[in-house]
């Protein structure tokens, strides 16, 4: 449910980001309130993934303002941002460490806040991972890797989750499981920024959608306005 009156957990103003000489973000503006699920929609290369990476400080250079829980992180070292922002990141390529097994991958990130899910809770939410807890990360299927990538950040106590293309390349049955996971997390009060290509997956989950083109927000749609602005949205996404 939209909660625009809640506390702004993430506030981005006039954000510019570069990879070397390439200027990718051109004045991004974004606000996410506590407990909201929002999506960043757009075509490939529009700057959605770069927005997440800029929040985490893993782009070449960035200017502007990024406030996480009211704290300015634009000049902060990457490893501090997770702690300050109680922030968990699930990258597009999933980032499962091939040299570690499932359990080691799960226990890799440090605890950044109280209240993270226990390993038992995680195995209950993702039963496949429990069965494969001693398998090497490289031996998992795409769906299992995705589950592990999400599970890994839930253990840390992070309550602001940045999830990048979690549905990419996955079978419909796995998408159904992911849908149920996001719904459960939302019920538990997690704040989620979802970068999605699959609009049909994201539409029923999100409180608000931001359409991104050329590194800036060109359209903002509340969940309630979706039917009304569908045509405009389709034009931007070319669907």
């Amino acid at each position: 449910m939209p909660n625009n009156q809640g506390k702004a957990l993430l506030q981005i103003e006039n954000l510019h980001a570069w990879y070397g000489e390439s200027h990718i973000l051109h004045g991004m503006e974004l606000t996410v309130h506590e407990g909201e699920v929002i999506t960043l929609l757009g075509r490939n290369g529009s700057g959605r993934t770069t927005t997440l990476k800029a929040i985490l400080g893993v782009v070449g250079r960035r200017t502007g303002s990024i406030k996480v829980r009211g704290v300015e992180v634009i000049n902060m070292a990457t490893h501090r941002i997770a702690h300050v922002g109680k922030l968990g990141y699930c990258p597009e390529e999933r980032g499962i460490f091939a040299s570690l097994n499932v359990e080691e991958n799960l226990e890799l990130p440090p605890t950044i806040a109280e209240g993270g899910m226990s390993t038992d809770d995680i195995y209950e939410m993702f039963p496949n991972l429990a069965e494969r807890r001693f398998s090497q990360g490289s031996k998992l299927s795409g769906g299992e890797q995705q589950m592990l990538a999400i599970a890994r950040i839930l253990r840390t106590g992070a309550t602001l989750l940045l999830l990048d293309e979690i549905t990419e390349g996955l079978a419909p049955v796995i998408l159904k499981s992911l849908d149920s996971v996001i719904r459960k997390l939302r019920e538990k009060g997690y704040t989620i920024v979802l970068v999605e290509q699959n609009f049909h997956f994201a539409a029923p989950l999100a409180d608000r959608h931001y359409v991104i083109e050329h590194g800036r927000v060109v359209l903002q749609i509340e969940a309630a306005e979706l039917a009304e602005k569908q045509e405009q949205l389709n034009r931007h996404l070319s669907v």
Partner: protein, 298 residues
């Protein structure tokens, strides 16, 4: 040729092998985790022996400090000093070269080696100074049944094996080790989880240097402490790392031990080949298994 001769030569070979293993382990940790070919590793080993010697014999004479750091204390103090110097080198110099090709790190550490060697050659005899601090409790010989073996050398073998396998265990089987391995595999993602990868890199380099320093302390009572003792050894140790597989922790340990044995046994079978057998094996490994015996093909 009696079995007794072979066994005793094998044990002496193992004694050399544990030094190969300790040094190649440090090199493998630094290369595997940081991708730096640390040519100064031999100099850190030499430095370890000299810090032990200075701590035992020269503190009063040179610095007017009325203190003698004995062998047992040196096993703790010297790795801290050498590890601290390693951290200083990483923070002030190597850190600037991470974005460049490996060759720049190798050249820098080669330069550091020459400076350290030159510095010690200025104060100490190049042909070697004996370390007088070997503890009384480790003097004498032990009867092993097939030979009498010097107690200190037996201690050096056991102590080194404990350190080597302890290090392997920490890297392969603990949470700290899995974080280090993750930091190597994907440093950027590891940082987004809230792990301070630059600090991990610095401490790992310091740990690698400390291992070399520790090997230097262990070597001091056996070999003469000389400014060139590291330079003599480092080329062989590089060959050990290549044979084991660059970056493979277990590969470095097992190859170090095995090649010490091979070298020792060659001394019995065909003595003139003893100093070249390792390089011959290195050529064979590079020809038929370029990633090394325990390394993974990329």
């Amino acid at each position: 040729m009696s079995i007794q001769v072979i066994m005793s030569q094998a044990l002496l070979g193992l004694n050399v092998g544990v030094f190969y293993a300790m040094l190649s382990l440090g090199l493998a940790v630094i290369f595997g985790l940081l991708n730096i070919i640390n040519f100064a590793h031999g100099a850190m080993y030499m430095l370890g022996a000299f810090v032990a010697l200075i701590g035992y014999s020269y503190l009063d004479q040179w610095f007017g400090i009325n203190l003698q750091i004995g062998f047992w204390a040196s096993l703790i103090v010297v790795p801290l000093v050498v590890g601290g110097l390693g951290i200083l080198i990483e923070r002030t110099m190597l850190k600037r070269l991470y974005q460049l090709d490996h060759i720049y790190g190798l050249l820098l550490t080669f330069g550091i080696t020459l400076i350290l060697q030159g510095l010690f050659a200025n104060f100490f005899n190049v042909s070697g100074t004996p370390y007088p601090g070997q503890p009384e409790s480790l003097s004498g010989v032990v009867n092993l049944g097939f030979m009498y073996f010097p107690t200190y050398r037996l201690f050096a073998i056991v102590f080194s094996l404990v350190v080597c396998f302890g290090t392997w265990y920490v890297i392969e089987h603990t949470k700290l080790g899995s974080r280090l391995r993750a930091g190597v595999e994907n440093p950027q993602l590891t940082q987004t989880f809230g792990l301070n990868v630059p600090l991990m890199v610095t401490l790992t380099f310091g740990f690698g240097a400390a291992l070399a320093g520790l090997a230097g302390v262990l070597a001091a009572p056996i070999y003469s402490v000389s400014p060139l003792m590291g330079a003599d050894l480092i080329i062989v140790v590089f060959a050990v790392v290549v044979i084991g597989g660059m970056g493979s922790i277990m590969g470095a340990i097992l190859s170090g031990l095995a090649l010490g044995l091979v070298e020792g046994l060659t001394k019995v079978i065909y003595p003139p080949a003893a100093s070249t057998v390792i390089f011959f094996l290195m050529v064979l490994v590079l020809l038929f298994r370029p990633a090394g015996l325990f390394g993974k093909e990329k």
